[in-house]
C-alpha cells in the first residue's frame, strides 16, 4: 500500500470529534472534582459550536456547490457531513447523560442544586417573579410569526423560544407561532435565596414559567427552546476546509450570507413546530439535534468557578518562580548568562512580563519587536509596549487580531500604540501571524546585543495560566540574527533569505520537518539508532504523514503526543507499526509543541508555534527554533518523555481512528504527567534554593556602604 493511499488517513473532522469525546470522557471521570467536570462539559459544548460554525459550515457550503472531490481519507463531503451528524448525535446524548447522571448528583451532594420551577419554595418563586418583572420582562420582546410571516434573522448561538399559540377561532388548522429571543447579555443562571446551599435556576425556566406575560389573552400551547449555529464569517476564518478545495475562496466571496448549519432544539418539540422551524431556517434533517434541556452547556463555564466550593475544584497549583530568573535580578542579566527555558503554567509567566517591562524602562534598550496574536488590550504586555514607545524606544508590533479590525473594539490599544510612535502592522495579506517572537535590542558596553523570547503560546497572561507552553529566552547571536531576519521579512523590509538556525512557515517549515524525518530514515537505513518524539496539537499534513509512514517502514521509532486531531493511523502492519500516538487531556490544556530527532545521538530539539497542519505550514507565519543549551534541552526532553509516559489522562490512538483510554496498571497508581511535571519542577526549585549558600545582606548606612 502506498503511503498516499486514502485508507491510511483518518478523516480530520471525525478525528476532531474524537478529541472532543476525550474531553467529554473527562467530564464523566469521577476521579476529577465535580466543578472541573462541569468545566470539561462546558468546553465540549463551546468546542462543538466552533466546529459547526467553521468546519461543518464549510462542508455545508461545499455540499451546496455539489463539490465532488474526496478528502485525504477518501470520503466525499456528503459522507463526512453524514458521519459527523451521527457522531455528534451520539455525543450530545452522552453530554446530557454525563450532566444528569454524573455531575448533577455530585453537585447536589455538595449542596449545589439546579432547581426546576416546580422545585422552588415560595421565597424562591417570589424571587423568580421579581427578577422576571424587573430584569427580564422589560428587555424581551416577542415577535409574532402569524399570517405566514417568515423568521426574522436568528442570532448565532443564542437561545430562543418558539411559542405555539392557540389558533384563531374559525381557522383551527392554521398554527400560530411567535418567537422570543433570550438576549445573551442576561445572566443564564439566577441565584436563588437558600439556607441549605447554593441553589440556581436557569433563566429560560423563569421565562417559560412567566410566558403568559408576553401573550396576554392568548393560550400558549407549546414553548420550545432552540438555538442555532451559523456559518462563520468566512472572511475572518482561516480554518475552513480550504484543504479540500483550492477555489473555495471564490465560493466564499460569492456567498455572503451565513447559513444555519445546526439546529439544537428541545426534544419536547411537537412535529408541527419542528417542521415549521426546520422550514423557516432551511435546515436539513441531518442538521437537527433534538436533545433534552438544558441547551448550551458552554454557558455553564461560569458556574465552574463559584466561590466557596474549592473542594469541587482541582487543588491550587501556584506557578513556581524559576530560580533561573530571580526577582532581584534583571531578566537581561539572567538571559545573558545562560539560555533559559520555562514551562508554563507550572512556572510563572512573570519573567516574560518582566522581560518587556524592564525593557520599557531600560535606557540601554533601543528597540523592541514583537508579534502579538490574540492579545487583549488590558494585558501587562501591551502596557509595557506602550510605555516603551512613550519612552522613545523603537517599537514594532505585528498584531494579529481576532476579527477584522474595524469591527473589533479592542483595536484601540493598537491604535494607541501607533499614536505613541510605535510601528504597528495589522497582519499580513492571506497569512495569519501565529509565531510568538519578541526581540529586545540593547546597546551595551560590548556593543549591540539582542535578547529573544520564543514562545509556543500566545503573549497572553490569561491563557498562560491555563495552557501548557514554553518560553525560551536566549541572547544567542545567531538566533538574534535569525529573529531580526524574521521581522525584516514579515514587515516587508527584506525579501526572504535562508535562516541560520530557526525556520519559519510558510517558507520552509514543512521541508524542515520532512528533512529532519528523512535524516532519521537515512540513519536507520545505515543501521544507526533513529528516534522521533513529537508533542503537538494536531497532525494533519498529508506530506508529513506520508513521510512519517516511510520512516516507520524504515524502522524509525516514532512516539507522538498529539492532543487533538490526528489523521495518521498508527500501528498498521507494514506501514506504521513503530508509531505510537497518545493524547493527553488534563487540567491544563496541552499546547506546547516539541519536535525531537535523535539525529545520530546529537538529539535535536525544537520548540515551535506550529502544529503539523496545512493551515500552520501554508497559511500562517510560524516559527520553529532549536534548543541547543544542554540544560534547556534536557528540561524540554524531560517534559516530552513525561508526557509520553502518561497512563492516567492519556488515550492511545488506534489504527481504526478510535482512542482507548489507558488503564492504570493493576492496583498501582499510574503516571499523571501534569502532576509528575509539577512535582519535578517543584523539587528542582527546592534543590536549587537549598543549594544556594545562605548570605546575609545587612542594610547599611549610605555613609558606610561597605
Amino acid at each position: 500500500m502506498k503511503e498516499s493511499d486514502s485508507r491510511l488517513f483518518i478523516n480530520r473532522e471525525l478525528s476532531w470529534l474524537e478529541f472532543n469525546q476525550r474531553v467529554l470522557d473527562c467530564a464523566g471521570d469521577l476521579e476529577i472534582p465535580a466543578l472541573e467536570r462541569l468545566k470539561f462539559l462546558s468546553i465540549t459544548s463551546s468546542n462543538l459550536d466552533e466546529f459547526f460554525m467553521v468546519r461543518v459550515g464549510s462542508l455545508h457550503m461545499l455540499m451546496k456547490e455539489d463539490f465532488s472531490k474526496t478528502d485525504a481519507s477518501g470520503l466525499t463531503t456528503r459522507q463526512q457531513y453524514t458521519l459527523i451528524s451521527y457522531r455528534v448525535q451520539k455525543m450530545i446524548a452522552q453530554q446530557h447523560a454525563t450532566f444528569r447522571n454524573s455531575i448533577l448528583p455530585e453537585l447536589e451532594e455538595n449542596d449545589i442544586r439546579f432547581l426546576a420551577i416546580n422545585e422552588c419554595n415560595d421565597a424562591q418563586l417570589k424571587h423568580c417573579e421579581y427578577v422576571f418583572e424587573n430584569e427580564i420582562f422589560p428587555v424581551l420582546s416577542p415577535v409574532s410569526l402569524s399570517n405566514g410571516r417568515s423568521f426574522p434573522l436568528i442570532a448565532n448561538k443564542t437561545l430562543y423560544y418558539l411559542v405555539r399559540l392557540k389558533p384563531e377561532t374559525g381557522r383551527p388548522q392554521k398554527s400560530r407561532f411567535a418567537l422570543l429571543q433570550i438576549p445573551s447579555n442576561l445572566k443564564r443562571f439566577i441565584t436563588l435565596p437558600s439556607k441549605t446551599g447554593y441553589h440556581v435556576i436557569l433563566l429560560e425556566d423563569v421565562i417559560c414559567y412567566s410566558m403568559h406575560a408576553f401573550f396576554p389573552q392568548e393560550e400558549v400551547l407549546e414553548k420550545t427552546l432552540f438555538r442555532i449555529a451559523r456559518n462563520a464569517d468566512y472572511t475572518l476564518q482561516e480554518d475552513l476546509a480550504f484543504d479540500l478545495i483550492a477555489d473555495m475562496e471564490e465560493i466564499v466571496v460569492a456567498r455572503k450570507r451565513s447559513d444555519c448549519v445546526r439546529l439544537e432544539i428541545a426534544d419536547t418539540v411537537s412535529p408541527g413546530a419542528l417542521n415549521y422551524c426546520k422550514r423557516s431556517l432551511g435546515v436539513s434533517p441531518l442538521a437537527v439535534y433534538r436533545q433534552p434541556a438544558p441547551l448550551d452547556f458552554a454557558a455553564f463555564m461560569s458556574l465552574s468557578t463559584i466561590r466557596g466550593h474549592s473542594r469541587l475544584n482541582y487543588e491550587e497549583w501556584k506557578p513556581l518562580h524559576s530560580p533561573l530568573v530571580p526577582l532581584d535580578k534583571s531578566v537581561f542579566s539572567c538571559v545573558s548568562a545562560q539560555d533559559i527555558v520555562l514551562y508554563h503554567p507550572y512556572e510563572s509567566y512573570d519573567p516574560m512580563v518582566r522581560f518587556l517591562s524592564e525593557a520599557a524602562d531600560d535606557p540601554q534598550v533601543i528597540a523592541i519587536k514583537q508579534t502579538l496574536y490574540r492579545t487583549s488590550g488590558n494585558s501587562q504586555i501591551v502596557a509595557a509596549l506602550k510605555r516603551a514607545a512613550e519612552n522613545g524606544k523603537s517599537v514594532t508590533v505585528l498584531v494579529e487580531l481576532k476579527a477584522r479590525f474595524d469591527e473589533e473594539r479592542n483595536i484601540d490599544w493598537a491604535r494607541q500604540l501607533e499614536d505613541l510612535g510605535a510601528q504597528v502592522i495589522y497582519g499580513l495579506r492571506k497569512l495569519k501571524v501565529h509565531a510568538k517572537i519578541c526581540i529586545i535590542i540593547r546597546k551595551e558596553a560590548q556593543g549591540i546585543k539582542r535578547y529573544m523570547h520564543f514562545g509556543t503560546g500566545n503573549y497572553n497572561e490569561k491563557t498562560a495560566a491555563l495552557y501548557t507552553d514554553f518560553s525560551f529566552f536566549t541572547a544567542d547571536d545567531i538566533l538574534g540574527h535569525d529573529a531580526s531576519l524574521f521581522f525584516n521579512i514579515i514587515t516587508g523590509y527584506s525579501r526572504p533569505q535562508p535562516y541560520h538556525k530557526m525556520d519559519s512557515a510558510p517558507l520552509g517549515l514543512r521541508n524542515k520537518f520532512i528533512e529532519l524525518i528523512e535524516g532519521e530514515i537515512g540513519r536507520k537505513k545505515d543501521g544507526e539508532k533513529a528516534h522521533i518524539m513529537i508533542k503537538c496539537n494536531a497532525l494533519i499534513d498529508r506530506k508529513i504523514i506520508e513521510t512519517l509512514y516511510r520512516a516507520s517502514r524504515a524502522g524509525v521509532k516514532i512516539d507522538m503526543n498529539v492532543r487533538g486531531m490526528c489523521c495518521l493511523r498508527p500501528g498498521l502492519r507494514g506501514v506504521s507499526e513503530s508509531i505510537t500516538i497518545k493524547s493527553i487531556v488534563d487540567r491544563y490544556l496541552e499546547h506546547g509543541r516539541i519536535y525531537y530527532f535523535y539525529h545520530g545521538g546529537e538529539e535535536k530539539v525544537f520548540l515551535a508555534s506550529a502544529d503539523m497542519m496545512p493551515r500552520n505550514l501554508d497559511r500562517r507565519i510560524e516559527h520553529i527554533v532549536p534548543v541547543e543549551d544542554p540544560a534547556c534541552k534536557k528540561k524540554v526532553i524531560r517534559v516530552l518523555k513525561t508526557n509520553l509516559a502518561d497512563t492516567v489522562n492519556a488515550w492511545m490512538l488506534q489504527s481504526d481512528g478510535s482512542y482507548i483510554r489507558l488503564k492504570r496498571p493493576g492496583g498501582r497508581k499510574g503516571i499523571r504527567s501534569q502532576e509528575e511535571i509539577r512535582r519535578d519542577f517543584d523539587a528542582a526549585v527546592r534543590n536549587i534554593r537549598s543549594s544556594q549558600a545562605l548570605v546575609f545582606t545587612p542594610y547599611r548606612s549610605p555613609k558606610h556602604p561597605v
Binding site: A367, I448, D477, I478, H481, S484, Y493, R495
Partner: protein, 525 residues
C-alpha cells in the same frame, strides 16, 4: 554572517554599528554590523530588497522612474531600521552602487533623487573598488582559507551586470578585473532575441562558452588550483546539492554535482524556477547563466571542485569604513605587487623601479609632516615609481607619455580609477616637461588633485635622478631641510657625478613646488 560564539565576557567593540548599503542590478542589500576587537565583524542585520535597475539599464540605458521610486521605498525602510540602531550619521552609512547605476545615463539624477528623498549619499564604485573590497573581505577571514591559501586561487562572482575575477598566488593578488559579462545582462540579451523559453538554457550555455575567453585573460590566468565562486546563485545551488550547507565557511562543491543540478535547471523556464524554488524573478533569471559560468571556469582550469565562501564587497566596504578609509598594510603590499606584475608584463627594469620606489618613500616621509601628505598619497607615489619607465616597452622616445597611457589602461589592484589616473600622471611627469595648463589630462583634475600630482611628481623626479646610473648605489639616504635647502646625504663612496647632473635637471620642479633647492651630499666615512 560571522559566527560569534557566546563567551562569558564578550570582546569590546571597536566602534558603534555601521551600515553598508549596496545598490546592485537586481537588489538593494543592507548590512548592519559591528566590529569586534579581534578584527572580525559581526553582522547584526542583513536585508535584501528586489529592484529592477538591471532590467532597466541593460535594455534601455536609463533607470525608470518606477525603479527610482522602488529604490527610494526600499531605502526608506532601511532607514527606519537604521533608526532602531541609532545609525544616523552619514559617516556611519556607506552606500555604494555597482554596474547598473554606473552604466545608467541618468545616474546623477538617480543619486540626487535618492539623496533628496532619504539623505543617503550613494557612491558609484568602480572595478578597482570592487577588487579592493573583495580582497579585504577575503583577507579579513583568511583563517577560513588556510586549506587553500598556499595555492593558486581564482575568486569570481558573476553578478547581474558584471563579472568579477581575481587571481591570488600564495595569497597575493596577481590579477583582478571586472568585465561587463553579467548574468542578467546575458539573460536579457537572449530573451530579447525572442528565444523560446524552453531553449533559453541551451542558448545561455553556448553564449557563455563564447564569452569565457573574453572574461578570462589567459596571459595572467595560466593555471589555477582552486576556484572560489561567490554570490547568491552558487549558494542557492549549494543549499540544494549539499545535505548541510553553512554559507559562512569555505565549502567545497563537486563540479559533477553542480553540473548535474544545472542540467536539471536548463529545461526549466524562469516561471518554473520561480515556482519550484520560491525564487524572485531576477534571481531565477540569473541562476542558469551564473552556474554555467562557474562550470565553464572550472572546465577551463580542469578543476573538479568549486568552493563557495563568504566573500563580498559589503564586508570589504565595512572594514574599510572601520579603518577610516586608510590603507591596510596588507592591502598596500598587494597594490605594489599588482604594480610589479604590470611592470613585469612590460619588461621593466625591476631593480631600478624598486630603488626609485624606495628613495621616493624616503623623500615622501621626510616631507610628509611639513607638507601634510595623506597616507593614501604614498601608495600613488609607489605605484608611479614602480611603473614610471614602463613606457620604454613601447618606445624610448616620449616613454613617459607611454608610461602614462599604459598605467591608465592597466588594472592596478587596489586603486580606484581616479587614483590610477593620478598615478599615471605622476609617472608621466617623472621627466621632461612638468605639469602645464596645456596638458588636458592634468587640467581635467581638480585643484587638489593637480597639487597632489605636482608634489608627488617632484619627489619622483628627484628619486629617479638619484638612481641615474641604474645601479642602485644609494642604499641609504638621510634628508634634512633648512635655509631653503633640501639636503640629501649619503655615505656611499662611489662617484655620483651623473646623479648630481641629473639632480640639477630634475630638481627644478621640486624646488618650484616645495621652495627647496635639492642638494646631494656625500658623507665619506
Amino acid at each position: 554572517m560571522k559566527k560569534i560564539k557566546k563567551a562569558p565576557t564578550p570582546p569590546k567593540p571597536v566602534i558603534n554599528p555601521l551600515a553598508v548599503i549596496e545598490i546592485g542590478s537586481t537588489s538593494i542589500r543592507m548590512m548592519v554590523a559591528q566590529a569586534r576587537e579581534n578584527g572580525r565583524l559581526e553582522v547584526i542585520e542583513f536585508l535584501d530588497q528586489a529592484v529592477s535597475l538591471g532590467r532597466d539599464v541593460f535594455s534601455r540605458k536609463n533607470i525608470s522612474n518606477e525603479s527610482i521610486e522602488e529604490c527610494v521605498k526600499a531605502l526608506k525602510r532601511y532607514q527606519r531600521l537604521l533608526h532602531d540602531y541609532g545609525i544616523h550619521h552619514e559617516r556611519s552609512i556607506r552606500a555604494i552602487a555597482t554596474s547598473a547605476v554606473r552604466e545608467a545615463f541618468n545616474r546623477d539624477a538617480f543619486i540626487d533623487k535618492i539623496d533628496i528623498a532619504t539623505g543617503i549619499q550613494v557612491d558609484i564604485i568602480d572595478d578597482n573598488d570592487i577588487a579592493r573590497y573583495m580582497y579585504i573581505s577575503y583577507f579579513s577571514e583568511k583563517d577560513n582559507y588556510v586549506s587553500v591559501s598556499g595555492r593558486k586561487i581564482i575568486i569570481s562572482e558573476a553578478s547581474g551586470g558584471s563579472c568579477f575575477i581575481m587571481y591570488l598566488n600564495k595569497g597575493n593578488v596577481e590579477y583582478a578585473r571586472t568585465t561587463s559579462f553579467g548574468t542578467l545582462r546575458t539573460f536579457q540579451m537572449i530573451e530579447s532575441a525572442g528565444t523560446p523559453d524552453t531553449l533559453q538554457g541551451r542558448i545561455v550555455k553556448k553564449q557563455i562558452q563564447r564569452d569565457i575567453p573574453h572574461i578570462v585573460d589567459r596571459s595572467f590566468l595560466k593555471e589555477a588550483d582552486v576556484l572560489i565562486a561567490l554570490g547568491g546563485d552558487i549558494k542557492f545551488a549549494a543549499r540544494r546539492i549539499l545535505k548541510t550547507f553553512d554559507p559562512d565557511v569555505l565549502t567545497p562543491l563537486h563540479v559533477s554535482a553542480l553540473a548535474q543540478f544545472t542540467e536539471t535547471l536548463l529545461p526549466l523556464t524562469v516561471d518554473q524556477i520561480m515556482t519550484r524554488y520560491n525564487q524572485p524573478s531576477a534571481d531565477a533569471k540569473s541562476l542558469k547563466p551564473a552556474l554555467l559560468y562557474y562550470l565553464s571556469l572550472a572546465a577551463l582550469f580542469k578543476l573538479d571542485t568549486i568552493y563557495t565562501a563568504p566573500i563580498n564587497i559589503r564586508t570589504g566596504a565595512f572594514l574599510e569604513m572601520v579603518e577610516g578609509g586608510e590603507w591596510f598594510g596588507y592591502l598596500r603590499e598587494q597594490v605594489i605587487r599588482s604594480a610589479s606584475a604590470i611592470g613585469k608584463k612590460y619588461n621593466y627594469d625591476q631593480p631600478h623601479a624598486q630603488q626609485v620606489a624606495a628613495l621616493s618613500s624616503t623623500l615622501f616621509h621626510a616631507l610628509k609632516r611639513e607638507y601634510k601628505f595623506e597616507t593614501r598619497n604614498e601608495i600613488l607615489l609607489a605605484v608611479a615609481a614602480h611603473l614610471h619607465d614602463i613606457g620604454l616597452f613601447i618606445n624610448t622616445r616620449s616613454h613617459h607619455k607611454h608610461s602614462m597611457y599604459l598605467i591608465q589602461n592597466s588594472n592596478i589592484f587596489g586603486l580606484t580609477n581616479r587614483e590610477t589616473i593620478l598615478a599615471s600622471l605622476i609617472a608621466r611627469y617623472h621627466r621632461k616637461a612638468g605639469p602645464r595648463t596645456t596638458h588636458p589630462e592634468f587640467m581635467a583634475l581638480t585643484r587638489a588633485e593637480r597639487l597632489t600630482v605636482t608634489k608627488l611628481a617632484s619627489i619622483l623626479r628627484v628619486a629617479d635622478a638619484l638612481d641615474r646610473t641604474n645601479d642602485q648605489q644609494l642604499k641609504q639616504i638621510q634628508c634634512s631641510a633648512a635655509n631653503g635647502l633640501f639636503i640629501i646625504t649619503t655615505n656611499t663612496s662611489t662617484d655620483l657625478s651623473l646623479e648630481q647632473i641629473a639632480l640639477k635637471d630634475k630638481g627644478a620642479l621640486f624646488e618650484e613646488t616645495f621652495g627647496l633647492k635639492v642638494e646631494l651630499h656625500q658623507k665619506i666615512p
